[in-house]
């Protein structure tokens, strides 16, 4: 097992390298001149040329890549073209905020999906099941930005139970931090919750029809034990795959949600940087999220082996 994990970790190096080349190339061939975007209303050609030179944008592409790679290998991801802030600092400063926010959303999504999905599967076609199905459809169809604004209007403006966005430091104002977390976390959780709920329900329904459960019941096990110990553990295997993929996908959702709730995380940084052609920042964020995807997929594969003893990663003989 350890060997397997090591091998997978090693494999990440060439993948990360490929990602860096692809992102670098795609960004540079996307039409749009970063210097013009930064220039705003100030278009003095001499100043623009000086900026191009300062950022090395007047160099040929391969040279730019090599320079970037050289620095990146030494742990220096450069400075933001737009704000001159070191990229590493820009990301590290925001990462905990995005992790807190994404983690909260994931927690809501998974826990609600597990509980409600299981209940819905056990009481198929009951009112609860119907409500859960209805919610699934609504949750998948409602765009993030729309749901976010509705939540702000209802809970922040009309009912005044939560603040309309913003961030407070957990270390100094823990209660305020949590209060501000609720609406964005619900917004971000909704879409994935809908998918998870559906997945939990259908894979559990599938498992529930298997014969080994009848055997379990026949040998006198209580319903609770049948569901929790036998049905759920098997039913969860496909669900874990979906959860794992969502960890990576949360960054996508964070992009919009963070902007609406002005949560100063990586998602918001990504939006500004892509629109502004802030090459070094976009490169770093994409690389980071690619790594997050790879690590979460690996974690899912490891979890598999734990959940399903039939799966083994030992090297086959021959």
């Amino acid at each position: 097992m350890t060997q397997y994990i090591l091998r997978r970790l090693l494999l990440m190096i060439p993948v990360a390298f490929l990602v860096s080349v692809i992102v670098f190339t795609l960004l540079r061939i996307t039409p749009g001149d970063p210097v013009l975007v930064f220039a705003g209303e100030e278009r003095d050609p001499a100043a623009l040329e000086a900026m191009r030179h300062e950022y090395g944008l007047d160099q040929p592409l391969p040279v730019q890549y090599v320079v970037w790679m050289e620095h990146a290998l030494r742990g220096d991801l450069g400075r933001s073209l737009r704000t001159r802030q070191p990229v590493t600092q820009a990301i590290l400063e925001r990462l905990p905020k995005t992790l807190e926010f994404g983690g909260a959303a994931l927690l809501i999504s998974i826990s609600v999906a597990l509980v409600v999905g299981t209940l819905a599967a056990l009481r198929r076609n009951s009112p609860l099941d119907l409500i859960a199905t209805g919610f699934t459809i609504a949750g998948v169809s409602l765009p993030n930005f729309y749901l976010g604004i509705i939540l702000i209007l209802v809970f922040a403006l009309a009912l005044r139970v939560f603040p309309p966005g913003g961030y407070a430091d957990f270390a100094t104002e823990p209660m305020d931090n949590l209060k501000r977390l609720v609406l964005p976390a619900i917004t971000l959780a909704t879409a994935s919750l809908a998918i998870n709920l559906r997945q939990v329900r259908s894979s559990l329904l599938d498992v529930l029809s298997h014969e080994y459960l009848r055997t379990a019941r026949a040998k006198g096990l209580g319903e609770r034990a049948v569901v929790l110990r036998h049905a759920l553990k098997n039913g969860l295997i496909p669900v874990v795959t979906i959860f794992g993929l969502q960890i990576g996908a949360l960054l996508d959702g964070a992009i919009i949600t963070e902007t609406i709730f002005f949560w100063p995380g990586v998602g918001r940084l990504a939006v500004d940087s892509i629109g502004g052609r802030d090459y070094p920042v976009v490169q770093a964020i994409v690389l980071m999220s690619a790594l997050a995807f790879m690590v979460s997929t690996l974690a899912v594969d490891v979890l598999y082996a734990w959940l399903d003893p039939r799966i083994s990663y030992r090297r086959q003989a021959g």
């Binding site: 100030e42 003095d44 050609p45 400075r79 737009r82 403006l157 002005f262």
Partner: protein, 528 residues
Amino acid sequence: MRSARYLLALIATLAVVLGACAGGQPSGGGPSASPVGAKPVYGGTLTFALENDVIDFDPLRSRAFVDRNLHYQIYDSLVRIDPTGKIIPWLAESWETSADGKQVTFKLRKDVKYHDGTVFDAASVKWNIDRYRTTQNSQRASDLAPVASVDVVDQYTARFNLKAPFAPLLATLVDRAGMMLSQKAIEAGGADFTRKPVGAGSGPFKFVEAVKDDHITIEKNPDWWGKDKDGNKLPYLDKIIVKPIVEGTVRTTNLRTGDAQVANNIVGKDVESIKSDPNLLYQQGPNYGFDSIFTNRKKGAAFEDGRYARAVSMAIDRKQITDQVFYGTRFPGYGTIAPSHFAADPSFKPFEKADPAGAKALIQQIGKPLQFEMLVTAGTALDLQIAQLIQAQLAKADIKMDIKTLEFAQILTLQDTCSYQGATLIGWSGRVDPDGNTYSHIYTGAPNNNSCYSNAQVDKLLDESRTTTDEAKRKAAFRAAEQIYVVDDPARVWYDFRSTQLATAKKVQGLVPYPDGLIRFDVGWLQK
């Protein structure tokens, strides 16, 4: 269930409000900010909801308009404008222009210190202006291009030597090119100075911290030189927290919930909800900014023949745009010179009534029907709404306009090289002197002349408006030029002038709208 009913009620209310607004009632200025005789009190913290995060605190590098919202609190410039746009003394107590117009001598205040304790004097003026003029990537170099050198006459007298007379010089010094910073603080700040201008200003507020996309904190400068009209020391406020909130509706919500007390960029459709809120005050004043349509006048482009641009100008209904899209927060506009500029002519309304029939006749006269493509920035609902409205208006004159959405960065590149086929939308935040609104947009080959317009007569008039300091002569030159580049041989199509909006909690006092759209917090105070 209760919340579901609540939601329905909310949606119904929204629909009613939106319906009422679509009726279109242009809003005038709000009631006066401060009850007569109210005595300012010291203290308090204010939260200011800003439309975006500040990118650059260094006036030398700053490009974005939004930056200036902070610059104006932290830094003092040599001269300033009053709420009517008149240039008034600031760090410079007085100034004198030589007879040939090539030397401007400033007498400086003697009681000014930067936040880091260093003294402001003529040597500091010279150092700052030279830094702006000669630093490699200075965004201010072109603003100060007419300046040949600065002499330190004595400790508190500085003389600007100009290459040629340059009438807009004072107006230029109101903004970033005239902001004075401490040399010591800049050198100590190094590469991080653009984000942490610690101790650099001499203004009413000192920089404390800036956390990207989260907040900026500035606090009272207790040693500021400014005094109110009764001789009390300014500023009154202890602290200002600036929160960058990009989403317009969320900015308004923050005001209404009391999470912010000041905002200066309000979405048109939200204005009614602020006006009807008993805790809020909405003020609206004139502004130098305008919005326009670049019609590509380059050879081979759709508007090579300027008469097509005039036809579009005739066919569009400006009032419909300002009413339906901006809910009366902008006003029909016809050129670069805004109503509050000295060179404005209030009777200059060349396309006041939409005239699709006239446009049709003009195009028939040219002989070939007009069809062109309008590029709109993807993801900007407001721009798309404007484009669609214009599309419908032009259809009445048999002009076919196709809308194509593209990413902002792509449109910029196409604009910069005049390589778009037909038209794009372009706004301008406005400058104190009409020259700043005009020259770089209209003059042949100028950086913001992205319709590739060229008219020798206009160029001559604009040069004239720069070299003469006589206000009446300058106005005459601007009037003659505007008639040409708007009507006779249009450079592009202008459709509105902006307004300065200022929404505050009622307990915020003393703040008034300035035509450059920037708030001066030095006189603001909070009712206890």
